[in-house]
Amino acid sequence: MTLPLFSTTEDPGPDFAGLIRRLKVPGPSPTAATMSAGTAAEDRFRHGTTVAALRYADGVVMAGDRRATEGHAIAHRSMEKVFPADRFSAVAIAGAAGPAVEMVRLFQTQLEHYEKVEGVVLSLEGKANQLSQMVREHLPMAMQGLAVVPLFAGFDLTRGTGRIFTYDVTGGHYEETEYNATGSGGRDARTTIKLGYRVGLARDEAVELSIEALYEAADEDSATGGPDLIRGIYPLVATVTADGFLSVPEDEVAERFAALIERRRAEGRQP
């Protein structure tokens, strides 16, 4: 490796994605020419699944299950789908696991790179736009069955509130006022949140609701993993507030799932 120096007219500025393109380091989206997946692509690649985000009084909660599938087979039981994007934002992924995880890595580096080069942090809107561009660049792959659909949430320091952005495969991004979920079990998760949601939830209520949403999604969708009590693998839950990104401890998540099942049994409902 040499020192990456550019003439003033070709300087990529604080754009890390632009930098690695110039340095010819492969990014998350291979060019369409390098791969020609058949129509049955979904059977051969790992796919990710249900992720949800909702706003509450202090910020946002984001949660995601842990299962990855290859067609009808379970490929991985403890995949992570919720990541810190930087100190004040989180990104969750659904879709083809390989490019999705790579996209998150590029996105994380992109945000940190900007911050270091420019000496200031990007606005939340700016971060959401950056992710949008990455999803848009991935469109040729999405057309071949390898879609990546992220969910982005963070704490807007200038507005003092949590904000959520959803994406589609074309890179369009849409701000959500309250909550959203994406992935194959997203619909079930969304419905569950809808039934329990109100403005200004407390932290515990919001975490509880996200856990219930994932539980219901896993119940209805074969590609979403529920709490794995035998192996001790639980969905990942994180909050982003004025204090930054914080993972909800695994013990707390485990206890909440146990309590949820217990409560339903006691009420005479099906767990």
């Binding site: 490796m1 020192l3 990456p4 120096l5 380091v25 590029l106 790179h113 270091k116 000496g119």
Partner: protein, 225 residues
Amino acid sequence: MTMPYYVAPEQVMKDRAEYAQKGIARGRSLVATTYDLGIAIVADNPSRSLHKISEIYDRIAFAGVGKYNEFDQLRVSGIRHADTKGYAYSREDVEARSLANLYAQYLGQVFTHEMKPLEVEILVAELGTELRPPQMYHIAYEGTITDEDRYAVLGGETETIAQRLEQEWTSGWSLADALRSAVGALAGSDRTLGGPDLEVAVLAEGNGRRSFRRLVDGELEALLG
């Protein structure tokens, strides 16, 4: 046709070195020192936005003196190098030594081949681990690289500042002691430097993955006492 005058290579190098040294000596100086929990870097710099000290990577910081646009270009290329390497390999593969070598090669090349040498002196500091002591690589305008394990002084009047610091430097001293001595060494006996005249940053454990942190306002004043 007129023949160009013959100039001995020794003279060319001497002239270039003098030119670079003059440029660097015009600016203000900078001191870096290890302390019990990491590395502190103190620059005589009243600007709040044009930084001399900057974060490169998780455990690596950069500091430069001399011409701002020249060392800032080096700073940005260092961030680019580190981020690209961490992205292509792994975060733990990014280390100060290889970056310092790249800087040294580049400065050396510019010094011998270009019209004008870079009027900068830079420092690449890396926080130590359990296996490795902290490292400070001091790279001069002509590409000379020195590895300091106690303190480093960059800029003009380095000898006087280093002498003042040498008298007080103690292994494993606290951040407050280190800062007071570093500021004292920078200021000398005929002037005093306070918080607003200084740019201070540390590489320290306990800041999470990214160990670089700027010390400003109240926190800095409290440490300076």
